[in-house]
Symmetry: C2
Subunit: 329 residues, 2 copies
């Protein structure tokens, strides 16, 4: 099956011109599980990689309720007003059509979504974390070819999602709530270690004082961690996304980080390592696909599944037999 | 390489006798990444599957700070007092030695950990979610062969971890905090849909009223979801793990669930489906291992990684070439 070269050329030309309809369509092709769509997507990505612009990739995380949407809405608007082209992606494999919250996504980022220089794309609605992450990684390539300057990648919660986002971003921002007691307990050491900056959000009204206390405590906690390899000292700031305060210093911090890491070479070193991981993810994907796409094996798989379900054989024996069948095929 | 049969027989005998030192050692073998350990572990698991007891597998989740440790400590003690043998496992691939919280794990479950009829095993300290989940799945087999009646599997946060736990448990309990406003926003629809029961924890003192309000709201929210395939209607309860109140009704609820699902056949149907997923996970693991263990391919891999890091070729082309090399090898 040879993908249509003329079609790919046309798509990539329009993506590079930042034709938004084509961009949306191209991302849908990336997210598709259909073999023929995947082939087109790969061809398109090959093309786009040639036109890749060095954007600023920012990962943003925080527990539900910390105000990520409001933050991204107003932070994105700040960047748009400074002449930046801003794209927003989400990594949230557990979400369904409502994208994670019962309230749904329609009320999120209303102003930003109307901006000519902003492009918002929700998470693929299905798939494993690995799959979603891989597709987000590929979408970044399209966005960079389309000339976006800043790519904000939002993720929810604590844990694996963050690692996935860390592996595809330059700067990692952790949003926290004021109120330190319970909060400190809840800090995942791994997520703390990933953060290049922590912003205590909702620092307004009665929360200003608790936010400043939290800022102090987080600064102390960060000092307990060993220094980052890239020589960057994580910053702790306060802000109120709702009241649009404290957002400018966060962007300044990101700019300072970019300068710092580009000067000492860690920026490109990190990107190289990320490319390596990207290869690993893609390789694992096609290795497994090679097994599952083989029609002669799918029958053997069904039969083994049946046996395992009925406890006739163990998963270990069944998998061993399937591997042998794969090697022969 | 043939694993030592006599050694495996000795190990499995002691595991089945619930020799705790051997049990701990056997789990360490399961968690090991060394090839020879894995072979022993597989042999051991084969043996243990013959002696498997039908335990109650309970997944417990909730955001950091909801009080999972205190809950498990006191809920576990309740079960021990009722003559049950209780095991506690954790799925938390993002954690380090401190198991997720800066406070560390030493202060967690102090009473339960001293109980003769309780066995607590923290999460493997490294590995991907898939790896950790697979190993937890295998550990369950050992614990069941050792005669544990109830296996509590704790997980942190929202999202992928929960899906992994759901795939290896019979009953899924979601712990929530009182205070409904922010909470409802933060509910991940996916996690809500998984829950067989929700317990609003910390329902004590001034929190009793907010907890009851939350109970009402969650009941309503659950009614918006379509009915479960197994005919079970998820329950919403309140409790205070700290004050040891409301825990008995939660155990009654689990007992009722077991009766209900065993009567209508969904219990065994679900377990069969879980076995099928287990096969898939293990199969994916050994398929990839077959590539990465091949010494001739590891050189090709290094060379492709180098090229991708230097942007000489794209991950797609590199992966395609490696797949071809694998097929030849």
């Amino acid at each position: 099956m040879t993908p249509d070269v003329a079609y790919i050329n046309d798509l990539s030309k329009k993506v590079i011109e930042n034709d938004r309809t084509t961009l949306a369509k191209a991302i849908t092709l990336i997210e598709s599980t259909k073999k023929e769509h995947q082939k087109i997507a790969e061809g398109l990505l090959e093309k786009c990689l040639e036109y890749q612009k060095e954007s600023v990739r920012v990962g943003i995380t925080g527990v539900p309720g910390v105000g990520k949407s409001t933050f991204i809405e107003n932070f994105g608007m700040l960047l748009v007003h400074r002449g930046k082209k801003v794209a927003v992606l989400t990594i949230d494999p557990s979400s369904n059509e409502t994208k994670g919250s019962i309230l749904g996504d329609k009320v999120r980022m209303e102003t930003l979504s109307k901006e000519k220089n902003a492009f918002i794309r929700p998470s693929p609605t299905s798939g494993s974390l690995g799959g979603v992450a891989r597709k987000t990684r590929e979408t970044i390539i399209l966005l960079e070819a389309a000339g976006y300057d800043v790519i904000l990648i939002e993720t929810v919660g604590v844990g694996q999602n963050e690692t996935a986002v860390r592996d595809m971003t330059d700067f990692f921002l952790l949003l926290k709530l004021p109120g330190a007691g319970d909060e400190l307990q809840g800090i995942k050491r791994g997520v703390m270690e990933m953060a290049d900056a922590i912003a205590i959000n909702k620092a307004d009204g009665q929360n200003v004082q608790p936010a400043e206390t939290a800022q102090l405590e987080f600064s102390r906690a960060l000092h307990l961690l060993s220094a980052k390899e890239n020589g960057w000292i994580p910053q702790v700031m306060t802000c109120s996304a709702m009241q649009n305060t404290g957002l400018k210093p966060i962007w300044s911090c990101i700019e300072k980080f970019m300068l710092h890491t580009k000067e000492n070479g860690s920026f490109h070193r990190t990107r190289k390592q990320q490319n390596k991981k990207w290869l690993r993810h893609h390789l694992n994907h096609i290795l497994l696909q090679d097994f599952y796409d083989n029609p002669t094996l799918s029958q053997a798989l069904s039969s083994m599944e049946e046996k395992v379900m009925e406890s006739e054989i163990t998963p270990f024996v069944a998998a061993e037999r399937l591997l042998r069948a794969y090697r022969k095929a």
